[in-house]
């Protein structure tokens, strides 16, 4: 199985946050199904060449967010109740943040409200059009 997570250690975004986002994205996209087992901390740490404590922190936070269940001795599993909802919400958060950055950038570059609107409408038309095919 190819690695489905890509984290960038050289980024200024903390690694554990990058990996949390990636796992939630994988759940929202159905690459990780409800009930599916996640790799052990050690296996994922070695697969991504990342610190095991960082990966352990990711699993702890995902458990706290209600996305996965971890039971000692058995391992970590995607929750069958609500993990999808939580993951979808998290992915929407990522999209919202990206959107906000784009709009803020347009404003700080001096584009008017109308120009920004126009730009957004054209971008939406382009991407959602392609998806219909």
């Amino acid at each position: 199985m190819p690695a489905i997570y890509t984290v960038d250690p050289r980024s200024g975004v903390p690694l554990y946050l990058q990996l949390i986002e990636q796992i939630k994205r994988a759940i929202a996209l159905g690459m990780l199904a409800p009930g599916e087992q996640l790799p052990t901390v050690k296996a994922l740490a070695l697969e991504l060449t990342l610190n095991p404590n960082t990966v352990a922190r990711v699993y702890r936070e995902l458990e706290r967010d209600g996305v996965i269940d971890t039971s000692p001795g058995r391992g970590s599993f995607v929750r069958t109740d609500g993990a999808g909802v939580e993951a979808r919400r998290a992915v929407a958060d990522v999209a919202r943040a990206a959107f906000e950055v784009a709009v803020r950038e347009a404003k700080s570059l001096g584009l008017s409200r109308e120009e920004t609107h126009e730009l957004m409408a054209r971008t939406i038309a382009r991407w959602y059009e392609t998806e219909l095919e």
Partner: protein, 295 residues
């Protein structure tokens, strides 16, 4: 045991008038990897020498697995110096034989796995090895004793990128099995990847010691552009969350140590035309920490 496997408390080492290591306190917990960064001459190697009993501290305490150093400490402690020390006239296989006799936990299967990993020929004499191969041989020996404490001084010097990655994986594997690893490196990217915590030394002093992700969460640059001249900033410069303020025309840059959102909110209240938060990677944080600029 739950205490740190490596512990330095107020470690100080003076050579005459020169203080090479100045009141350094640092713990590395079981299962943790700490990357030690610092410019040349910052005191990293001297710290290692004290930690291993090769140099006598002028002050402070050292504990490995919760106890002062004894000969027994070295049964579970592996050290790889920057210049790998091998017996020139012995082959790699001879070195393995020495280790088999000397170390209780020596694992011959593991040793041969590592030789294969680093593409080393056990029949080669140490004096015939290139710099990178010497490092690889020293690492093979170090990891073959199943150490609980690993102290590695520039463990990837001379290695190609593939073997460098193997070294990181070996450290990660050891930590996942409960070992403590303290390693120095000039390659910030390696520390960023494999370590969970970082220690930065400068002129003998420990100037940063933190979980890397926490450091990245706190240390940001907030960049604001104002329509006209920068308004009165009040006591922003003395806010403990601010490391440094830079002003250039209508642009204000604030380097934060923690709670960058709080500082961004303070600046936003001054009605800038635009404001953005820039994430800093470990290299930038390192450069900020060791550069001469101080308030």
């Amino acid at each position: 045991m739950n205490g740190p496997l490596i512990s330095l408390d107020g470690l100080t080492k003076r050579y005459g008038n020169v203080t090479a290591v100045d009141d350094v306190s640092l713990d590395v917990a079981a299962g943790s990897i700490c990357g030690l960064l610092g410019p040349n001459g910052a005191g990293k190697t001297t710290t290692f020498k004290c930690l291993l009993g090769f140099a006598k501290p002028s002050a402070g305490r050292i504990a490995i697995e919760g106890a002062p150093l004894t000969p027994a400490t070295f049964e579970t402690l592996a050290y790889v110096p920057e210049r790998a020390s091998l017996y020139d006239n012995l082959t790699i296989a001879d070195h393995l034989t020495l280790y088999r006799r000397s170390y209780k936990h020596y694992d011959d299967v593991r040793a041969h796995e590592l030789l294969a990993l680093f593409s080393l020929d056990p029949k080669q004499k140490a004096k015939r090895l290139s710099k990178g191969m010497r490092t690889a041989a020293a690492l093979t020996l170090a990891f073959s004793i199943r150490p609980r404490v690993l102290i590695l001084d520039e463990p990837s010097s001379g290695l190609d990128p593939v073997h460098q990655r193997h070294v990181l994986d070996l450290m990660i594997d050891a930590a996942a099995n409960g070992a403590s690893v303290l390693f120095s490196s000039h390659q910030v990217g390696q520390v960023e990847r494999a370590a969970d915590s970082v220690a930065i030394m400068k002129k003998g002093k420990l100037i940063v010691s933190s979980v890397i992700d926490d450091l990245k969460s706190g240390e940001k640059v907030i960049e604001a552009v104002f329509a006209g001249p920068i308004p009165d900033l009040g006591d922003l410069a003395s806010d403990p969350r601010v490391v440094r303020l830079e002003q250039n025309g209508s642009m204000l840059r604030a380097v934060t140590r923690d709670d960058s959102d709080g500082i961004a909110a303070r600046i936003f209240a001054l009605h800038p035309k635009s404001i953005r938060t820039i994430d800093l990677n470990l290299e930038e944080i390192f450069m900020n920490a060791v550069s001469e600029v101080t308030l």
